[in-house]
């Protein structure tokens, strides 16, 4: 894995999550940011800041990206979601088109 193949997602509190681009692209919103020509500064730095998403939720989302890739390649496990995170997670998922 090369550094260029990763993307850094930054939460509201400034915590950083370095994940594989292929995982990040599970999100249509992030995919658009990383692949649309020009305009997005995110594409050049490989960093996306989410001032609206808390660290706990962003980590859960990253875990979801990876789970989703594993699920797509045939690994049939459940994705655990703590009840108290559900609302925030749904709002973030809606924003990210995930």
């Amino acid at each position: 894995m090369r550094k260029e193949d990763t993307v850094k997602l930054i939460s509201a509190e400034g915590f950083e999550f370095v994940i594989d681009k292929r995982a990040a692209m599970v999100s249509q919103t992030i995919r658009n940011m990383l692949t649309s020509p020009g305009s997005f500064a995110e594409r050049e730095h490989g960093e996306v800041t989410f001032p609206e998403i808390s660290t706990t939720i962003l980590e859960k989302i990253c875990q979801y990206f990876y789970w989703s890739l594993q699920f797509a390649s045939g690994k049939d496990t459940e994705f655990p979601i703590e009840p108290e995170l559900t609302l925030e997670l749904m709002m973030a998922a809606n924003y990210l088109h995930t």
């Binding site: 999550f17 370095v18 292929r22 594993q70 390649s73």
Partner: protein, 141 residues
Amino acid sequence: MSSKTWDLFLLIHRFHLLMWKTLAKRSIRSGGLYRIVYMAMYIRVKRSKTTYFLQCDPTETILDVKQKLHTLIDQPINDQRLILVGTGEILDDSKTLADQKVENDAVVALTLRKDDNEFEDVNIVRPNDDFYQSRDPDGSW
């Protein structure tokens, strides 16, 4: 070769071409050939406020993992120490992830060698849990 077999051959050839074109189109639309990525497991390597999600395989050694970290953070392998957070065990370079019961989604702490040649303590900053309450004191959305 009779003309009948030749016709059949051409037909099959055309069918193949068509199939490949459709497949290629589909893979371009979905963002490349490898839309479906094979991934056996991943671990979360944490230090300070940063988390690295690393794809790996249970048969990989800790040295392989450190090599991957090296490409991401430019820290020499000898200056990295990995500790399984669940048990507090220092992970051994020569052993595999499976050997040391590092499972999918496991959290591993990364510590680096300090200037005095000792390793720093585990340092993982956790987010403040009441972030949403503090941002929104009256509790309304």
